[in-house]
């Protein structure tokens, strides 16, 4: 690997990185934080759907998603210009405009990526600048024996669908519907004997950046705790 290391400049800081690596993880490793929701380490084909990791690169005609931009010699990257901040803020507002934002009763409170990014972008979790759209879904879907899914908290990043698809008998969950009605569906899992394998896996709950997909066991004890306090 050492012979194809390249040097790039990110916000005036020189960084050495393997050629061809994606820019986002390279920056993260060098303690340059770029907000992101849909990217997961090890993805070959990042979906680039959250639009929070946009950066400016000298020579590119517009902002690019750093999660699928490959590093090459001499790259000059800017991650914190005003324009980039405004674009990220807009992307963030669009995301939270369909989100329910009830943090105090959420299992991911204080460990939520959305909260972290809100702080980083100086944006409230309940945006007033866009109309709030309450998606027509139940607050809780719990047909799966070991998982609970809360559609109103979901940012549809697709991490859970990705990790499940990486497994040998994957795609026990997948996107369903389309457009504004898109949802991650565990349809039919209560009828599928393969769901029993989920008990020891729960990878989908582990990668959820918010509190939308959780282990049923953990969720139950969390709810019980809430009731006590």
């Amino acid at each position: 690997m050492s012979d194809n290391l390249v040097t790039i400049t990110v916000d005036e800081q020189k960084i050495t990185a393997p050629a061809g690596a994606f820019l986002l993880p390279v920056c993260l490793e060098n303690d340059i934080y770029i907000p992101h929701l849909c990217f997961l380490e090890g993805m070959d084909d990042p979906p680039a759907s959250c639009r929070l990791c946009l950066v400016e690169i000298a020579g590119e005609s517009g902002p690019v998603a750093s999660c699928r931009y490959r590093v090459r010699e001499g790259l000059e990257v800017k991650t914190n210009s005003d324009e980039i901040l405004r674009l990220r803020q807009l992307a963030f507002r669009l995301l939270v405009s369909t989100n329910d934002g009830s943090c105090r009763t959420c299992i991911a409170n204080h460990s939520c990526d959305l909260q972290k990014i809100a702080k980083y972008l100086h944006q409230p979790l309940k945006t007033k600048r866009l109309r709030h759209i309450d998606r027509d879904y139940p607050a809780l879907i719990d047909n799966h024996p070991f998982l609970v899914y809360e559609p109103k908290k979901c940012v549809l990043c697709g991490r859970c669908v990705y990790v499940c698809g990486q497994l040998e008998k994957g795609y026990k969950l997948d996107f369903a519907q389309r457009g504004m009605d898109s949802i991650v569906s565990l349809f039919g899992s209560e009828l599928d004997p393969a769901s029993l394998e989920c008990e020891t896996c729960l990878a989908c709950a582990g990668v959820c950046p918010v509190g939308a997909m959780s282990s049923k066991k953990k969720w139950r004890s969390f709810i019980a705790e809430l009731g006590l306090n």
Partner: protein, 190 residues
């Protein structure tokens, strides 16, 4: 296969599978082997089921998934992505509200809402008595009559929210007349 699936349902769900649905599912079990067991056949299989039986019963998705060796979530994801698939049996009077460009501009969306409120069902659903089903369609080719609604086979032109009640009443009146006719004929025959 079918009985296995039924056994896995909980009691209320099993009770919801009536004889008609059971027969449809039974038929699908027999139809499936005719299709190659490949994921690429997913759409043709779903289309053929819908064409023959009018809708995709929930358990049919499970059967299709195991036939093409993929997961139920995947089949459900694909089936819900396309507007052409429905998951409820069609009603005796299918109502299709056109939401093509012209009808949309002329307020088709409001008509759909009116029908939803009047029939107490949502778009894509069938009323409990199987009398009505409500759907949205994208252009029925008579934009000059916008906003248009298709009731059964008949196109209703220049529909306004105030005509919604009239359309439903007309269907109800015709139903009532047919019922009385039936009673009269029965009486005459006896």
């Amino acid at each position: 296969m079918l009985d296995q699936l039924l056994a896995a349902l909980n009691a209320t769900e099993r009770a919801a599978v009536d004889e008609e649905e059971y027969n449809i599912l039974q038929a699908i079990v027999e139809e499936l082997p005719a299709f190659p067991a490949e994921v690429s056949q997913l759409l043709p299989i779903l289309q053929s089921i819908q064409k023959k039986h009018g809708y995709l019963p929930r358990l049919a998705l499970n059967m299709v998934a195991s036939h093409v060796r993929t997961t139920i979530a995947k089949v459900y994801g694909i089936a819900t992505f396309y507007n052409q698939f429905r998951f409820n049996p069609p009603g005796r009077n299918p109502i299709k509200v056109c939401l093509g460009t012209a009808c949309h501009v002329k307020g088709g969306e409001i008509l759909l809402e009116n029908f939803e409120r009047r029939l107490e069902i949502k778009e894509g659903e069938t009323s409990a008595d199987r009398e009505y089903s409500l759907e949205r369609v994208a252009c029925i080719g008579c934009c000059a009559l916008a906003p248009a609604v298709v009731v059964g086979e008949k196109v209703e032109a220049y529909v306004t929210p105030s005509k919604v009640e009239g359309i439903i009443t007309e269907i109800e009146v015709r139903k009532e007349m047919a019922a009385r006719e039936q009673v009269k004929n029965d009486a005459a025959n006896e």
